[in-house]
Amino acid sequence: MSDVENAKGKHLDEITLLLYVERQLERDAAQEVSLHTQTCTRCLTLLRALDRESRLLTRSMVEQDEPLPARLAEFHDKVKKSMQWIWGLVFGLAVLGVYALYSTYIEPWQQRLNDAGFGGSNLVSLLVFQGAFWKGWQSMVTLVEFVAFACAAAFGLFAVRRYLRRGAALAVMFASLGLVVALATPAAAAEFRKADSVRIEKDQVIKGDLFVTSESIHMLGTVDGDFYAASKDVEVSGHVTGDVLCACQSLRISGQVDGNIRNLSNNLTITGEIGRSVSSFTETFSLDRNGKIGHSLASFSQSLTVDGTLGRDLLAFFHDGSIAGSVGGEVLAKGGSLNIGDSASIGGKTVFEGDNSPEVASGAKLGSPVEFKKWEHRSHMERRGGYYVWKVIWAAAWILFGLILMSLMPLFAKETVKSAENYGASFGLGVLVFFGVFIAACLACITIVGLLVGISTLFLWMVTLFSSYIVVGAVIGRWLLGREDELWPLVGRMALGVVLIKIGTAIPHLGFWVMLAVWIWGMGAVSLAVYRRLQPVIAPNIPSGPQPPAGTPLPPNTTVGGI
């Protein structure tokens, strides 16, 4: 029968057969198909195949192959559920760790920074160093803050509404914030000078900020604003009513500066008068006998000499330090050795931490006896119990940090863990990011223009560094407990991995190398995941129809082009 039909070339279209199977044909058309398939074996076979295909599709679709994810199962009543005790413990330890970190390090430093003139009333102010580096931008700060927060809030709401879990939303938020800050234009007028040698004459008055780049700079006149200098040698003999910001080999202040000094140089010598505070990173710092600093001094140097007058506190890190002048407030110093001379006068208490006890001359006038804390160079075998307690607290803090990150960005977390399992690429990229990005960011920070970019990059670098524990922890957990992509099992694996890493880093001699490997591996994995995210998605290129089996001729009238 079928041979007869084939010879006539009257096979039915596939679409007609499909519509028949799907019961979508009109009664007359359906009857025609029914009659035809009673006599045509080929069409009958195709009809049956299509019907079986329909049933296969339905069966495949309705099969319950995976349970409802935990996130969905808890969706409607998760807020009512109490936190499990283990997370309560972890949370408690983490809070303790954060508080200890704040009270031990951040708060004292914040106080010192405030004293040194870096005081900021809020986070954005701190970010842009309000009142210190960007004093000339003062009038813009309020607007920048407002716009930045408005943008952050708008993007935040947008992200939370639908895409809270996506890293891209966070990136947009940070990018917009950065853009808003970066696009702000300075409100004050500024003058720029660039030459082999720049000399501001004594009778010259410059209104507004002055930016100078030169081989040597001699400022004898008056700058009614801030003075920015990048040079080999800088001497300020004149009068600066604002701040001095300087990156040079040698800086000498013999004139008067009403504001602050921020300095990065080999040598800094002050013989003149500074109205406010000095922050300095130098090899040699010297406050001459005639020199005077109205507020505080924060110094990081090889050698420190304070023979002049300091109105408030001294915060210093050095190898060799000497105080023979007057300090109105406290002295907090850390270093190799400290000498307090006969003519020294210190109003507040003096605390010195170092290798050698300070030498204090009998004639020195001190507000209270010097408190000396000798540095203890403990061997690994002499670690106290507190060390291990801190290890536990920090491990809990990492786990909490990981929990937050994974909850916020579950898909990205999985992608990152997957990238970490690409060992060669992760380590390779990790070496590049760990060393290269850090060096590049530091270099960017040196230049005034690149400061914001440098700080932002360093911030991201730090976040990636901290995240590396979580990524590597999750991979180790998956090695031990098996692969699992659900959020909570993955968090559990991460927690186990982090604990093991913490144990690994506590091993004497080996610990440092374990930590370094974790940093490099984890940073590489995060970078690789970000890189992959940024690649364009390519849709599978599926042809519209199947390839005919080799050597099998197909009937010419089985197309759907005419429908």
């Binding site: 679409i15 979508q24 195949a49 329909s54 319950q64 994810p69 409607h76 009543d77 599926i542 519209s544």
Partner: protein
């Protein structure tokens, strides 16, 4: 939805703001909705997001639901529209979909070979092959063979004319067969 009778009482209570009724509705329908989204969307995370968003949307739209009609069918319609919107937005960003070639004729399969292809495939293989399909093809198959939506409903959701639905489904089947064949070839190649 097999095994679930129309929850008229729950709907009335949920409309009145009864949170317990909402919880019950969610508990009864979330697994099926998640499975629908899982079949229709490319990743599990997308499906989780979509399921939650559908139920949030449901909360807003429940007042519009006509209780004389099937709640399940209505729910699937909401889900289908939501998933298709998601896919279309994504397609606009990333994809050059294979739908450009809609006008090309399809060559009919050799019946015996099609029989053999179907006979040898498991549900898991079909689900894996679904991942390789274009958005519209995938969506059409899920609407038809998972939620048993009518041709009119599919036409409405996909924004195509009703007579075109059969062609869309046929093209989707062709894409699926191609994906099944390629996956099978890959598996054989990988095993060597």
């Amino acid at each position: 939805m097999p095994g679930i009778t129309e929850p008229k009482d729950l709907i009335v209570r949920a409309r009145a703001g009864d949170t317990q009724a909402w919880g019950d509705l969610y508990r009864d329908y979330a697994p099926a909705m998640f499975r629908f989204c899982r079949r229709a969307l490319p990743s599990k995370e997308d499906a989780e997001d979509a399921t939650m968003e559908i139920f949030m949307k449901l909360r807003e739209k429940l007042a519009q639901f006509d209780t004389s009609r099937s709640f399940t069918a209505w729910l699937y319609k909401v889900a289908a529209n939501h998933c298709w919107d998601m896919l279309r937005r994504r397609k606009a960003r990333h994809e050059k979909d294979a739908e450009d070639v809609d006008e090309l004729p399809l060559e009919a399969p050799e019946p015996n070979q099609l029989e053999k292809l179907i006979e040898e495939r498991t549900g898991e293989e079909v689900r894996k092959a679904l991942d390789r399909l274009g958005a519209r093809a995938r969506m059409a198959l899920v609407m038809r063979y998972y939620s048993d939506m009518s041709y009119d409903e599919i036409a409405d959701a996909l924004g195509v004319r009703r007579p075109f639905v059969g062609v869309v489904l046929l093209r989707a089947r062709h894409e699926l067969r191609q994906a099944l064949t390629e996956n099978s070839a890959l598996a054989v190649g990988g095993a060597r």
